[in-house]
């Protein structure tokens, strides 16, 4: 049986997801052309139903939405390369958000340095939230998925308590902290637009590079990958498997924590008291799976899912429930999960094609004989 590249599988999954979305809009009595318009508008800024209108804000918002999920995608991908499933992104983001907000409010540091310190604090908090699942997986062989989910809820309640207890709460709403210091904010890149697109995108790009460098270019990354391929073989080769698993989960947590910091410093600009999850961590799972847990793949998949997120406003504008993007996402994850079926299908199609070609050739041979 022929194997297919991850790119082929991902493209088929994405295409199927989109086709399904169009069918669903049709089935539920909506106009699929509206869905297309919303997606194109979020991507290019052009409105298909009003040719000539162009708004760069949409494009910037697309990139803005891609930044956090590229980071959570890196988080899931990093753990995945070591054979771990990091479903704890939500808790790690919340820990990171809270740490970033705390540093951004309580400490007075010069600009440029301040956001960097905030981001480092967030990375540390995220890593701390990844420590327990990694450690327990490594040394006690406890399923990291369950611990991660427990850490998500623990993180949400713990951070909500922490924020209420130690950070100054905005007396007007009682639902968030006061604004963070101006020096800690990630400023807008293009101040002339209304888009909140900020310098946080640099963080994502550095993250992509760091991911690629650690995984592909260092001995440590090599031993992480070896652990992911075959734990016992890696142990036999003298690699410290337990330490690798723990560290990998911590680094994954750090990536998610940074995503939280970028959201707080760039978009919200105040500390949040979380009562639900934002699903950035779950988006990260889709991004990592579709991106094949590769740096460049995560970048492209992050842009794709960022588009779906960014399109939600436009979708509601055209009267299509924005949850359709979640449906597309679910189908894509599902198809990536059953890539075995896709491979089987592609093989069948190829076999038919080859058979046809063979038959044609035979016919050709006959004619030449005559």
């Amino acid at each position: 049986m022929k194997k297919y590249s991850h790119l082929t599988i991902s493209l088929i999954a994405v295409a199927t997801g989109l086709i399904f979305a169009f069918l669903l809009t049709l089935l539920t009595g909506k106009n699929p052309y509206d869905l297309l318009t919303a997606l194109v508008r979020s991507m290019t800024g052009f409105n298909l139903q009003n040719i000539g209108s162009f708004n760069i804000t949409y494009v910037l918002n697309w990139f803005l939405n891609a930044v956090p999920i590229i980071l959570t995608g890196l988080s899931v991908a990093f753990a995945y390369r070591t054979g771990l499933f990091n479903i704890g992104g939500e808790g790690q983001i919340i820990a990171g958000s809270t740490a970033a907000a705390a540093v951004a409010i309580l400490f007075d540091l010069p600009p440029v340095i301040h956001p960097i310190v905030c981001i480092l604090a967030a990375a540390l908090a995220g890593a701390l939230w990844g420590l327990l699942p990694g450690f327990l997986k490594a040394y006690r062989n406890i399923n990291e998925v369950v611990i991660c989910i427990m850490m998500n809820y623990s993180g949400m309640y713990f951070c909500s308590w922490f924020t209420k207890r130690f950070l100054p709460i905005d007396p007007n709403t009682n639902e968030r902290t006061i604004s963070i210091l101006k020096s800690a904010e990630l400023p807008q890149v293009f101040t002339s637009t209304t888009s909140q697109f900020n310098w946080g995108f640099l963080v994502a790009i550095i993250g992509l590079f760091v991911f690629w460098f650690i995984i592909e270019k260092t001995t440590f990354g090599y031993s992480l990958r070896a652990t992911g391929f075959n734990k016992e073989a890696a142990r036999f080769a003298g690699m410290k498997v337990e330490r690798n698993i723990t560290l990998s989960m911590m680094i994954a947590g750090a990536f998610s924590g940074i995503a939280g910091a970028v959201l707080i410093l760039g978009i919200y600009k105040y500390g949040r008291i979380f009562t639900t999850f934002d699903n950035y961590g779950f988006d990260g799972i889709s991004v990592a799976l579709v991106g094949g847990a590769q740096s460049i793949g995560v970048f492209l998949a992050g842009l794709l899912f960022g588009l779906f997120k960014a399109a939600s406003g436009n979708l509601q504008l055209f009267n299509i429930p924005k949850e359709i993007s979640e449906l597309i996402q679910a189908i894509i994850i599902y198809l990536v999960a059953i890539q075995y079926a896709i491979t089987l299908l592609l093989n069948k199609i190829n076999m038919k094609k080859n058979k046809n070609q063979l038959e044609n050739k035979v016919e050709g041979g006959n004619t030449s004989c005559n």
């Binding site: 406890i142 989910i149 979640e326 999960a337």
Partner: protein
């Protein structure tokens, strides 16, 4: 004492969806399939039960039938929904955690999408009258037994007794019938059961269907005892707590019952903390966090001798020895 009388019925009420969800997880894990889609299935069950009630109300159907009919549709929808997971994990060698994640995302998106289609762009369903759902009952005669009467048979929902019965039924099916033995063998060592003539594919499908039915039921019971409309936060991660309950109960129905009641108490403890002198000083978050921390501790405690089915989550390859 008065406090226990007040707390116990509430704790039981919150325990029931967890027990049912955990029993659902028990069937699928016992047959060798990791099912983290319990949360999603509960959402589907809750949503379907809710819209069944609403549309039956509008059609003017008598409200003695409506709740039972809602339970039935929820069970069927749960089975249909989990079948998606079955196709992936039984036939197409999918990573079961990833497929389950897809289902969880799908459930959240699908239910709210349909809410907006069915209810004029609202992000939630319309309300239904409490009378079209189950109401609290007092069991005659039994409620007069001292101590046990007030805590078990007063102000209780009939669904609580259904759950108790299902715990017993599950224990009987899984441990006392040939089907249960096959189910468990498929979760421990499917190749060995195949060599004894057990059809692994069929057995796993059966286990998964039980799982979907129970998780759908869990969602229906949740919404019908605690709410009168569906929105995205109806299930609020209880499916994951149900998985925790399953682990806490060490994959055993009686353990699940104990775990469910324990987590039920943990959930309602927050409401009553102010009247318990020892606990009144603690912040509310402490009570919310409590079940999750306990689960982690239980996992650490049992990690050496975990009773988890050995082949759970493994892709079944009949050629593997």
């Amino acid at each position: 004492m008065q406090l226990i009388y007040q707390m116990f019925p509430l704790a039981l009420m919150s325990a029931v969806p967890l027990i049912l969800g955990a029993l659902g997880g028990l069937y699928s894990e016992r047959c060798g399939i990791v099912n983290i889609a319990i949360d999603g299935t509960m959402q589907i069950g809750a949503f379907v039960a809710c819209i069944t009630i609403i549309f039956c109300e509008r059609a003017g159907i008598s409200n003695t039938i409506i709740p039972w009919f809602a339970l039935l549709t929820a069970i069927l929808s749960g089975m249909a929904f989990i079948a998606i997971h079955g196709v992936a994990s039984i036939h197409f060698r999918a990573d079961q955690t990833i497929s389950g994640t897809a289902l969880n995302v799908l459930a959240g998106g699908l239910t709210i999408y349909l809410c907006q289609i069915l209810f004029n762009g609202q992000k939630q369903t319309d309300y239904y009258a409490m009378t079209s759902s189950f109401t609290k009952i007092n069991v005659p005669i039994l409620q007069d037994i001292p101590f046990i009467g007030p805590i078990l048979f007063k102000n209780a929902y009939i669904t609580t007794y259904i759950a108790f019965f299902l715990v017993f039924a599950t224990w009987y099916i899984v441990y006392k019938t040939p089907f249960g033995l096959r189910l468990r063998s498929c979760g421990e060592f499917p190749q060995a059961s195949a060599s004894m003539g057990v059809n692994v594919t069929k057995t796993r499908w059966a286990g998964l269907m039980f799982s979907g039915a129970l998780s759908g039921l869990a969602g229906a019971v949740l919404i019908m005892t605690t709410s009168s409309y569906y929105y995205i936060g109806t299930v609020h991660g209880l499916g994951f707590v149900a998985i925790a309950t399953l682990i806490f109960g060490q994959w055993n129905p009686w353990g699940v019952l104990a775990g469910g009641i324990f987590f039920g108490f943990a959930q309602v403890l927050g409401y009553f903390s102010s009247s318990i002198p020892l606990l009144s000083g603690l912040p509310v978050e402490f009570y919310s966090i409590f079940p999750y921390i306990v689960t982690i501790l239980v996992l650490i405690l049992f990690s050496g001798k975990s009773a988890a089915p050995k082949a759970s989550g493994e892709i079944y390859d009949s050629g593997k020895r």
